[in-house]
């Protein structure tokens, strides 16, 4: 920790000075957070107003008041942090708020273009879900005062995760949308349990790996310079592989299976330091994906659309590259500085409010806007990794890395899919895209990272370690 300007007297021993820093730190952090949060709310409010001006040419105060209520909720979260997690990272809440606010503005903009209103309006739903997600995140912060409790429930978490993942496959409540069976439906209420499952699985991985890593990393035969694990240590990873493949095959969702698998591989690598696990993991996934791409027509179609997007046959094919190409057209139209909010034509692209919200952003905010959004994600992830570097307990560090990497993977899979880095798969852009389950899940991730970061700062190690 660098000394602050108030400590320039040079008097007194190092020890005392450091104590002074840690005492003063919390309120400084929270004040910084408050300032950033106000900036975030300003950005979100301005974006919504610009959307109204761009599409309607007038301001609708009602919507701004609703958005303002959400802003109050975010401020409420800040106040709660001052009480329950005074040392929490000051960047996480403002970043999540900015992205969530920009997302609401863009979804609302697409509603306006389509003429949707009331409960039909995705923007209204997104705002309601945002409120719900923030309240749940607040609950997580208040209920989980010590994250180590979570490590104890690791097998419960695994069970919960797998059940949630497989829930949509139950007849009766399972719902297939856009070809993927990822939703459950109870009455008019739909939910994507897989979104929550990824958190449960991250908790399980962190808890399991912290206890099992010695046997995973030290025991086993060496073959060709690689330390191969024992068969019985392979058990859990095989279970996860089977689950991921089941998701891929039965729920027809390449992105989600990639997410789980990538998460597990990264966490096992960080905890054991064994490259063999990464290679085994990658090999299993790529092998599975290769077979899938040959045998499952929808995966095959995605690959064709990715590699040969502009081929008229692929473009016109059912499930072809029409959406991908229209998204690219939109982004190209936006160019460097974008058309301005409400000034483009993002609705030409199907799913402009969810899977393709990043293309909508690119069209109206331009490359500049996309860089800013990607920059915010990068900062968010960096704050999560920082916990991984500076945390004191391995479970917390591993969980923070896992949760951060969930965000990395989601951003990469979605934005990479839209921009033709990888084949297109359906994942949600964290905080931005329309979708209640994802919003709840990502706010829970934010809450857990806030909780974990609070623990980091509390450690006395920081005090002596100048």
């Amino acid at each position: 920790m660098p000394p602050t300007s108030t400590d320039q007297t040079g008097a007194g021993p190092t020890f005392t000075r450091s104590i002074a820093i840690t005492v003063r730190q919390p309120s400084k952090l929270r004040n910084l957070e408050l300032f950033l949060l106000l900036v975030a709310l300003g950005i979100a409010g301005t974006a919504i107003a610009l959307v109204q001006l761009g599409v309607n040419g007038s301001i609708d105060v009602g919507v701004l008041i609703q958005a303002g209520a959400l802003g109050m909720l975010a401020l409420g979260m800040h106040v709660a942090l001052r009480v329950v997690a005074r040392d929490a990272d000051p960047f996480i809440l403002p970043i999540a708020t900015t992205l969530n606010g920009l997302g609401i503005a863009m979804i609302y903009r697409i509603d306006l273009a389509r003429g949707d209103s009331g409960w039909e309006s995705l923007g209204v739903r997104q705002m309601v879900w945002t409120g719900l997600a923030m309240i749940i995140a607040l609950g997580v912060l208040i209920l989980i005062r010590n994250h180590r409790v979570l490590a104890r429930y690791r097998y419960v978490a695994m069970l919960v995760g797998i059940v949630l993942l497989l829930l949509p496959m139950l007849p009766g409540i399972g719902l297939t949308l856009n070809g993927a069976r990822l939703w459950i439906q109870l009455g008019s209420f739909t939910f994507q349990p897989g979104e929550i499952a990824k958190i449960a699985l991250a908790v399980f991985f962190a808890g399991y790996l912290v206890t099992a890593r010695d046997s995973l990393s030290l025991v086993g035969r060496r073959v060709l310079g690689l330390q191969l694990p024992r068969a019985r240590d392979l058990g859990p990873i095989l279970i996860i592989w089977v689950v991921a493949m089941a998701v891929l095959i039965f729920q027809r969702d390449l992105g989600t299976s990639l997410l789980y698998f990538g998460l597990f591989v990264v966490m096992i690598y960080v905890s054991t330091g064994r490259l063999s696990w990464v290679l085994i993991g990658l090999g299993l996934f790529l092998g599975g994906a290769a077979i899938a791409s040959r045998t499952l027509t929808y995966v095959e179609g995605r690959f064709a659309a990715w590699l040969d997007s502009f081929n008229p046959e692929v473009y016109d094919a059912q499930g072809g590259s029409y959406q991908l190409v229209q998204g690219l057209f939109g982004m190209a139209q936006g160019g460097l500085i974008g058309s301005g909010l409400g000034q483009g034509s993002p609705t030409i692209t199907p799913l402009a409010e969810s899977d393709y919200i990043i293309a909508s952003m690119g069209e109206e905010l331009g490359l500049v806007g996309l860089f800013a959004i990607l920059g915010l994600y990068l900062l968010f992830v960096a704050r999560g990794f920082r916990i991984g570097f500076n945390g004191t307990d391995d479970f917390g560090r591993l969980l923070a890395v896992g949760l951060s990497f969930v965000v990395v993977l989601q951003v990469f899979v979605v934005v990479g899919g839209v921009t033709r880095v990888i084949p297109l798969t359906g994942l949600t852009t964290p905080f931005l895209a329309a979708g209640g389950s994802a919003l709840v899940a990502n706010w829970i991730i934010a809450a857990l990272l806030l909780r974990l970061s609070d623990e980091v700062r509390h450690q006395p190690r920081l005090v002596v370690d100048e």
């Binding site: 309607n56 960080v270 057209f329 190209a332 139209q333 331009g366 490359l367 990469f412 921009t419 033709r420």
Partner: protein
């Protein structure tokens, strides 16, 4: 654990870098290629959402792009749609453009080469692209007078300024409302277009310059008389035999003069009298004497056979080729297969009015960029010199007689010498006549040359003639000009 974490961080950073690169490629480097793709509807929207330049008459927009709240951003709106439809044409989203809207589309949309630097400037300053304004030569007072004078008749009125070729009025009836075709509701536009294109009266056709063309009938005698005099072989006093009926060579058909009987009294009749009284037989004899080649030569000098660009390309008026004597004699008073546009007939009068110098007709005064700099402004251009100054002076005298004491009497205006010629063209069988007037005024200092055509016998079938229907229309327009 930190070593692994660092590596994972690098992987994460690399993943983000890939995204920074991919978005940059799409939004900066591949932009041109993606925008040029035919499947890119946004490019189409953008071309319509550029603020299209207005079409101006005397500084007032008659066609302008009005901001609207849809994906096209601007709606092309015509303030006096029917009055100017023949000139403006229509601007549609994807059904093509006509008239000035079509011909000067590059300027109006701002994509003309002359406007390249402006486009570049707009790109740098981030302004919305805007098209140039097209200022027309049309005089709103004369245009309105021509519109009113033609009334409910089908036909056309063209008014030229002889000294410059500027088109002061161009009316075609029946017409249409271009706003119906400029709408953004594609279904409604298609329905309107279907209705207009299937209308037997062809409201979409600008009769002044296009369509099926007309038989000129007796107004062609102006060209014949000018040819005869300018050729040097004849004078206005040259005489021809004056029978009441004439059998065509190698044919059983007979021709007569429109009033029946001889052309005035006497055994012979002069060209001057034949023109004044609009007799057919003397001109048939004159045509035979001049020969097809001479007539063709003069007709081409007056503009026949040329698709005059005003800037819309007018249909070429035609004088037929390879005629036998009977056909040549019929052609000599504007029948058989002579076909003209009203613009062509106005050009003949304009050439005579301008001392034999025929000026290139045009509708465009100037083209003005959004920053008010002038993109294009043409000086008057000489189209041709079909006849000498002397011939023109003689023709002026003869045509003035025609209005003062002849067959075009209904165009006479108190206190002003009007030069003119009427025409009553037969369309074969029982078909109603086509009624004409052409001329200019004042005869001693011509300000305007005019051509009026009324279809369908002006509602009188075969009982009306040019002096009864077309000459009063011309008179009304000329009075409006003189009272400006």
């Amino acid at each position: 654990m930190n070593k692994e974490l660092r590596r994972v961080s690098i992987v994460a950073l690399a993943m983000f870098l890939a995204l920074f690169v991919s978005t940059s490629v799409i939004q900066v480097f591949a932009v041109d290629e993606l925008r040029a793709d035919g499947r890119n509807a946004r490019t189409l929207y953008e071309s319509y959402s550029a603020e299209r330049g207005p079409i101006l008459v005397d500084g007032t927009p008659i066609a302008e792009s009005v901001p609207v709240d849809d994906e096209y951003e601007f709606l092309r709106t015509y303030t006096q749609p029917e009055l100017y439809a023949a000139i403006t044409g229509y601007f549609t989203l994807n059904q093509g453009n006509t008239g000035i809207e079509g011909e000067l589309n590059d300027f109006l949309s701002g994509t003309a080469n002359e406007q390249f630097l402006d486009q570049l400037g707009a790109l740098v300053t981030g302004q919305n692209p805007r098209g140039a304004a097209v200022e027309l030569t049309v005089d709103p007072v004369i245009q309105q007078a021509a519109w009113d004078a033609l009334g409910a008749q089908q036909g056309s009125v063209v008014v030229l300024e002889p000294a410059t070729g500027r088109i002061l009025a161009m009316v075609s009836k029946p017409t249409y409302d271009p706003n119906r075709l400029a709408a953004h509701d594609t279904q409604a536009v298609l329905a309107a277009y279907e209705e207009l294109i299937n209308n037997p009266d062809d409201p979409l056709v600008n009769r002044a310059i296009a369509g099926d063309l007309y038989f000129p009938g007796s107004v062609f005698k102006v060209l014949m008389a000018a040819t005869a005099i300018d050729s040097g072989e004849f004078t206005p006093e040259s005489t021809f035999p004056n029978p009441p009926r004439l059998q065509l060579p190698n044919s059983s058909s007979e021709i007569g003069n429109s009033e029946g009987g001889t052309c005035g009294g006497g055994e012979t009749v002069s060209i001057a009298d034949a023109l004044r009284l609009s007799c057919n037989i003397p001109f048939a004899e004159l045509g035979l004497a001049l020969g097809e080649d001479t007539i063709s030569e003069y007709a081409e000098a007056f503009g026949f056979g040329t698709r005059v660009e005003i800037p819309m390309r007018a249909a070429a008026s035609t004088f037929p080729e390879g005629l036998d004597d009977a056909q040549l004699m019929l052609s000599s008073f504007g029948q058989y297969d002579v076909r003209v546009t009203p613009l062509q007939i106005a050009m003949i009068s304009a050439a005579i009015a301008n001392g034999g110098n025929l000026m290139q007709p045009t509708l465009v005064e100037r083209i003005i960029a959004p920053d008010l700099s002038i993109v294009r402004e043409d000086d008057p251009v000489l189209f041709s010199q079909p006849i000498s100054r002397e011939t023109a002076a003689t023709m002026t005298r003869l045509m003035t007689e025609g209005v003062a004491n002849g067959a075009a009497s209904n165009a006479s205006i108190e206190g002003v010498a009007v030069a003119g010629k009427t025409g009553t063209a037969e369309n074969g069988g029982d078909a109603p006549y086509t009624l004409w007037f052409t001329g200019f005024a004042p005869a001693d200092d011509p300000q305007v040359a005019i051509a009026v055509v009324v279809e369908d016998g002006g509602g009188f079938g075969q009982s009306a003639f040019g002096n009864r229907v077309a000459a009063p229309i011309a008179k009304q327009v000329l009075e409006a000009v003189l009272n400006r």
